[in-house]
């Protein structure tokens, strides 16, 4: 069982990811609503995986991914409703995989397991 830190500000989306990880995986999810909170939690929790939404109130997902990896190195999955905003170059160096919204629960679970394996 691994600890996953999810940075997302939209409560229904938080709930959905909680449900996906609770129903389809054996892992434990912790939620952060802002980039700042995510950075603080990353230092405490030392998660095995970050899941980061591209659109956060105080930062953007790619900048947060960089900051989080500097705090505690772990793979990052990027979630976004802007499929188009994620540039391939940044995507490959910073982010292990990209999860497009609307999320497909099975695809999310598979990607998490594959990344943690």
């Amino acid at each position: 069982m691994a600890v996953i830190l999810y940075a997302e500000d939209h409560p229904p989306a938080q709930l959905l990811m909680q449900a996906i990880i609770g129903d389809l995986t054996q892992h434990h999810i912790e939620l952060a609503a802002t980039g700042e909170e995510a950075e603080r939690m990353a230092a405490q929790l030392l998660p095995a995986l970050y899941i980061v939404d591209l659109d956060l109130p105080d930062t953007d997902g790619l900048a947060l991914a960089q900051a989080l990896r500097a705090i505690h190195p772990a793979p990052v999955l990027l979630v976004s409703a802007y499929a188009e905003a994620v540039k391939e170059s940044q995507f490959q160096t910073l982010v292990t995989a990209y999860l497009p919204k609307p999320l497909d629960p099975e695809y999310v679970a598979e990607t998490i397991e594959r990344t943690l394996a």
């Binding site: 939209h10 449900a19 996906i20 409703a81 188009e84 905003a85 391939e88 609307p102 999320l103 497909d104």
Partner: protein, 424 residues
């Protein structure tokens, strides 16, 4: 007028469309040519009058005129235009020498800034300084002659009229250039506005699609999670409807966004090594669920088809849109998906036994938002997106169809097309 002339775009600047710049350059050349002929005509009259009125100056006139003519002829070549601007200096000098009481010093006071402007300034600035010099010279002449107007012989009289003419032409030229500058400014501004509007609508669409997908994320995600539970029969089929309609809504949002990006030329390809057959097989099994009862889908894929440098996601989208379209319109019979390689191009063909499209309507099938039957579901973007994506890969889509028998859409993709397309 002056600030407009000094600050607006000039045809030698690169920020106006090529066609407009070319037009502007042509008009300016025309203006210079007109000005040249007026000068030549004026000189000829002065020579004619000068010889008869004051034969002592005949040799000086002749030498000067030969020089001036030579300089003007050289000036016909655009690259040495400065030479025939310098020739006007000669003319001013000539006039200065001819006019009684007008020594070389007075003429020089105008000739010097004129020459400096010719040498140091370009475009509008040169023209303005030169115009001021000519006008100044003309006023000086007027001032010199006004007290003795009645005793004038013909030569200075001609000179005055001639300089009025030159000044008028120069001012006409300035007015003309000012108008031209305004026109160029307008083109410039309308380009900027178009760019801004495009950019805004891009941002707007991206924002809207984000806002639509955010609730859709919860609806579809939770519905899919619920679908995993063993729900009793009516509820499970309701849930299935929610998921299917949600997916449909999501693909509409994606289509709108793709179409907007394609028409703004902002869609970027991410080329990779693509196995076209693999893509076709994947689409064939994906589309199976969409076939109407009584319709079969078969594939006829060329073994060992060369791999293609293309954006795999976009290639899938092209094939999915074409096969999806065939599935939508084919009520019975067969849809076949085939691949072949011909003359450095990979052909992906989607044939159906649907209603077919009359020849006169065939070009319209690729028009965005236009639905030929006006009834079927969807917003009419699928074929437009497929065609634009194929073209972005350096390829094309061809349609052949016989009404009542069916249609064949052929996607042609050059084997090295994607790399070329993205380097543009």
């Amino acid at each position: 007028m002056l600030p407009k002339l000094l600050n607006g775009p000039w045809p030698d600047q690169g920020d106006v469309p090529e066609a407009v710049r070319e037009q502007a350059v042509q008009r300016i050349l025309l203006y210079w040519r007109l000005r040249m002929w007026v000068l030549v005509l004026g000189e000829a009259i002065i020579l004619f009058v000068g010889i008869f009125k004051d034969p002592r100056h005949l040799r000086a006139y002749t030498v000067m005129l030969i020089l001036v003519t030579l300089i003007y002829v050289l000036g016909l070549f655009p690259r040495i235009r400065f030479v025939w601007l310098a020739s006007t200096v000669f003319l001013l000098g000539l006039h200065g020498m001819l006019v009684r009481g007008m020594g070389g010093a007075v003429a020089l006071s105008y000739m010097l800034p004129y020459t400096l402007a010719t040498m140091l300034l370009g475009g509008r600035r040169r023209l303005i300084v030169q115009a001021l010099c000519v006008v100044g010279f003309w006023f000086n002449l007027l001032y010199e002659f006004a007290p003795a107007w009645g005793q004038l012989n013909l030569l200075p009289y001609f000179l005055v009229s001639y300089n009025i003419l030159i000044a008028t032409i120069t001012f006409q030229g300035l007015r003309f250039l000012s108008r031209l500058t305004t026109e160029l400014n307008n083109v410039h501004v309308s380009q900027e506005v178009t760019q801004q509007v495009t950019q805004r609508s891009q941002q707007f669409l991206a924002r809207v699609s984000h806002e639509l997908r955010t609730p859709l994320n919860s609806i579809l995600g939770f519905a899919k999670l619920m679908r995993r539970a063993d729900l009793p029969v009516p509820q499970s089929s309701y849930l299935q409807q929610i998921v299917e309609e949600g997916e449909q809504l999501n693909s509409l949002i994606s289509d709108l966004l793709d179409s907007a990006q394609l028409s703004a030329g902002k869609l970027m390809l991410t080329p990779a090594d693509c196995d076209v057959n693999e893509i076709c097989n994947a689409i064939a099994s994906e589309i199976h669920t969409l076939l109407k009862p009584g319709v079969t889908l078969g594939t006829n894929l060329l073994p060992d088809l060369p791999h293609l440098q293309a954006d795999p996601l976009r290639l899938r989208q092209i094939v999915r849109n074409l096969v999806g379209n065939a599935a939508k319109y084919t009520a019975q019979g067969r849809i076949s998906l085939s691949t072949r390689c011909q003359a450095g191009e990979i052909w992906i063909e989607v044939s159906d036994t649907g209603p077919g499209i009359p020849v006169d309507q065939q070009p319209q099938v690729f028009v965005p938002f236009l639905k030929l039957d006006g009834r079927s579901a969807g917003i009419g973007l699928g074929l437009d997106i497929a065609l634009q994506l194929a073209r972005l890969h350096g390829g094309d889509i061809r349609l052949s169809s016989i009404p009542g028998e069916g249609s064949t859409f052929s996607v042609l993709l050059p084997l090295n097309g994607a790399a070329q397309a993205t380097s543009l």
